[in-house]
Symmetry: C2
Subunit: 194 residues, 2 copies
């Protein structure tokens, strides 16, 4: 990055409530072990800042802390130190209001908050615009939904929504692990000279 | 794709043997349920052809077939038909020789076979070149390794290797699920107008 403006910070949050189930009802989802690993590894690879795991359930936050302890201090840290290096970017928090407060306190200002959705229409934040925003020094918090995605009420708290990730067809039912990885690559991946 | 040359076929194979463990020893790995789901969902989203699960172990192939049956014909097909739509692209096979035979018999010629590696140097197949190859009608089979990656002997059977997926830094320990998703997006993802 020598000679260039320092790029902005990209943080991620994986939201377990409020999200919707397949019938569109607002629910809270359980924490999935591989979400933590895969998204933390992608965050670390692409140089994201922190990866916040948002759950209102104390047992789920405790489970998350136990997984982190295993890889950061326990047997996992001996077995595979690279995994701890990735999982060291994970923070746990209770809800979106707490997340926005925590991140604002940490960095002195609220970042641009961008939601993700497989169903978004007419996004004003195509990936290219958000990549330019970050490249120009702007910071962003990306919200990822578990289950069938972020509940509609979340959209009232954000500044924009990324477009869905699509191939040639209409099927776009990616796992949140895949979507997070692709989003980080599109925003922060090292570009080939072509 | 109206008015354009039809793009080539992209198939994927997830290799469970021969791969290496963290000490670089050649091993066979176990099938991971979420590998099947995540990579099949990404394959279906990006319009890949088939997703081959390669394992020399009959119990692992049988486990894979049972997972597929659950989602294609069992309770899973009622609970979430979209998942069966993704998993319908999965085929099971014994080893790389059998895979190359099967895919050659199916399509009448051997596709370009490209390996993936987090450690590849000096790739002659940057993503942009492979994307152009596919766009011009060329077909490709992408080999993905489980555990700590494809064994060196696999490299003698392939036509090239993709470069590692990198961010700004040197850490690039992505899960195979993340790597597969990003590779498909880079090769087949719908590009924004920017």
């Amino acid at each position: 990055m020598d000679g260039e403006k320092k790029r902005g910070r990209v943080d991620l949050a994986l939201v377990h409530h409020p999200v919707v189930n397949k019938n569109g009802e607002v629910i809270g989802s359980a924490v999935t072990n591989l979400d933590l690993h895969d998204i933390a590894r992608a965050a670390r690879t692409f140089g994201a800042g922190r990866f916040y795991v948002v759950s209102p359930y104390e047992d789920q936050r405790q489970l998350t802390r136990e997984i982190l302890d295993h890889w950061l201090q326990g047997h996992g840290s001996v077995y595979n130190a690279k995994r701890g290096e990735a999982l060291s970017v994970v923070s746990v928090c209770d809800d979106l209001a707490g997340l926005y407060e925590q991140i604002t306190a940490r960095h002195g200002e609220r970042p641009l908050v961008i939601a993700t959705s497989a169903r978004a229409k007419d996004s004003e934040w195509p990936f290219s615009r958000l990549r330019r925003h970050i490249g120009a020094g702007g910071s962003v918090l990306i919200l990822l939904g578990t289950a069938w995605g972020l509940a509609p009420e979340v959209m009232d708290t954000v500044d924009g929504v990324l477009p869905p990730i699509m191939g040639d067809g209409e099927y776009n039912h990616l796992s949140v692990r895949s979507a997070a990885s692709i989003i980080l690559d599109r925003l922060l991946g090292r570009r080939e000279e072509s």
